[in-house]
Amino acid sequence: MTPLVAISGLSVSFDGAAALHGVDLSLAPGEALGLVGESGSGKSVTWLAALGLLPPHAAVSGSVRLEGAEILGAPASTLDRLRGGRVAMIFQDPASSLNPVLTIGKQIGEALALHRGLDGRARMAEAKRLLDLVGMPDSARRLSAYPHELSGGQNQRAMIAMALAGRPDLLIADEPTTALDVTIQAQILELLASLRKETGMALVLISHDLGVVAETCDRVAVMYAGRIVEEAPALALFEAPRHPYAEGLIGALPLLDGPRRRLTAIPGTVPDPREAPPGCAFAPRCPKAASACAGAVPALTEVGPARRAACFFPLRSTPSRAERKVTA
């Protein structure tokens, strides 16, 4: 089966400082992929580069194929049709992504006119239907509301409605719930999951919160310093991470139940891209680093069923429950 999106060797550098070092990632139609990592790991840059949304001074190379067709470096007219059409993106702060002087209905209407050619009454009816679909309370009245009249959660629902206007095959959600309260976050995550079920669209969920990603996604890719360091089915990753950075992220997360234990903090900080260490970028912070780690960059290789890790000394572990299920 052709993947929906196939990214290979995607590299990005800003004024000579490399932000992304040859990322390979593919996504099946309808799949939910989580992308986790700390600030500066390249999780947002990957998708901004793929969609041609980076500023001109960014040097981008590699390949991004959407159902087999190359879109990296595609002409602006192609990308304009694609963005907001087959591929939609929503961001952390809906209030700053929405236009403050246009009503919600007008903004959703613009997307409908551009990607679906709707106008007049049909456009408004479809805009209202989309607001209903994303669970906006009192949708008919909200069409004439301005973003400042809505709460953060309602604005994010409006953004999602706008993203759905082009009937996307892929929705990229970049920290969609980070600015929201926890009960509203739960509502939005539930909404994304049910929309995916209803429309069959694929979802890329970018988040620094492993808990959020674990619950929403089938598969998770962990990024560090511009590279994917581990890729695994979501449950398997949490039960038995193979890369020390993934293990560190999980250990740094306090739990809500069970006995309280001291958090295993990862020492140090994410390296500055201009002063990247030689070899494995995580080696200076890694409890298991050996001399080999400073010598070369470990490649992302198969370490189990549907699992890849980029480490010379991947953590040994008994097959997790989830992995046993995969092999069975």
Binding site: T183, Q185, Q187, L210, G251, L253, D257, A265, I266, T269
Partner: protein, 326 residues
């Protein structure tokens, strides 16, 4: 023994107006908040936006005077903000905010800023203060090399360490932390949480830890108070309250907290966190509560003692009795 900090019926009312010509509406940001904090204890305060948790923190520190009720520090009433007694009290209580860059002076080196409170409060001999500042930086994991830098040359985690070092300079009895790790990456967040736990245990600090993140609050607190629209709706031991929440709002919060491998159906709250300017009648939570009965619309539930160190404000919660409560 008198508790270090004691609050009785604290309320803070702001006047808010909707639009330029709107009539001012009284907003009760904090309403009837009573709590006690012993020496060396840690109290976590959780709640969503508009719950009044930050305002409660400022009232407890005496940064703002309450409109009703009283906060007592070490057995004495909080002096009015700005008075000389109030200034002297600053040395004994300190606050840490979410944004360390905003809390630091961009023009001064970190070491100079950690030394500043020692000069202001006249602590120690002037010639010893630089050494004490270096000691404080070392205690928070910052080297002398980093101490010589200015805030913009530091990472987010290092800045928050510097703010903590400065807050500890006067050897305070009480530290109020308002979302101190919310802006930090997970791995750095764990470093700062561990640091705060260690310092708290070493120095016997009493701490109020305000956050929207239940997981971080549980990690660091002995007791937790859950706030909703200006009031405490449930209070209990940190390990207990999230394992066996009794208030429907706490239940929903626990259920909404994301966790790897979480199974079972989530309790999804209907609607938005309500607007403090349009506070629902009776129990403020009733419009979003799945189990609300007519009484909840009419009558404000009081924060009742349920036994076993638990308090909850809900008409439908019965006192805990031994095993049955679990």
């Amino acid at each position: 023994m008198t508790p270090l900090l004691e609050a009785e019926g604290l309320a803070r009312v702001y006047a808010s107006r909707r639009g330029v010509f709107g009539r001012p509406v009284a907003v009760r940001a904090v309403d009837h908040v009573s709590l006690r904090l012993g020496r060396g204890e840690t109290l976590g305060v959780v709640g969503e936006s508009g719950s009044g948790k930050s305002t409660a923190g400022r009232l407890l520190l005496g940064f703002e005077a309450p409109d009703e009720g009283e906060a007592r520090f070490d057995g004495a009433a909080m002096p009015p903000p700005g008075s000389p007694e109030w200034r002297r009290l600053r040395a004994r209580m300190q606050m840490i905010y979410q944004d360390p860059l905003g809390a630091l002076d961009r023009r001064l080196t970190v070491a100079a800023q950690v030394k500043e409170p020692l000069d202001i409060h006249g602590i120690g001999a002037p010639e010893d203060r630089a050494a004490r500042a270096a000691e404080l930086l070392a205690a928070t994991g910052l080297s002398a090399r980093i101490g010589a830098r200015r805030p913009h040359e530091l990472s987010g985690g290092q800045r928050q360490r510097a703010v903590i070092a400065r807050a500890l300079a006067t050897r305070p009895d009480l530290l109020v932390c308002d979302e101190p790790v919310s802006a930090l990456d997970v791995s750095i967040q764990a470093q700062v949480v561990n640091l705060l736990s260690d310092l708290q245990a070493e120095l016997g600090l009493a701490m109020i830890f305000i956050s929207h993140d239940l997981r971080v609050v549980r990690q660091i607190s002995a007791r937790v108070a859950v706030m909703y629209l200006g009031r405490i709706v449930e209070e209990g031991a940190a390990d207990d309250i999230f394992a066996r929440p009794v208030h429907p709002y706490t239940k929903a919060l626990v259920s909404a907290a994301p966790a790897p491998g979480k199974t079972g159906k989530r309790i999804l709250l209907e609607g938005e966190p309500p607007n403090p300017a349009a506070r629902p009648s009776g129990c403020a939570f009733h419009p979003r509560c799945a189990v609300a009965v007519p009484r909840c619309r009419a009558e404000v539930p009081s924060l009742a003692d349920l036994g076993a160190g638990r308090r909850a404000a809900c008409h439908l919660v019965a006192p805990l009795s031994g095993q049955e409560a679990a």
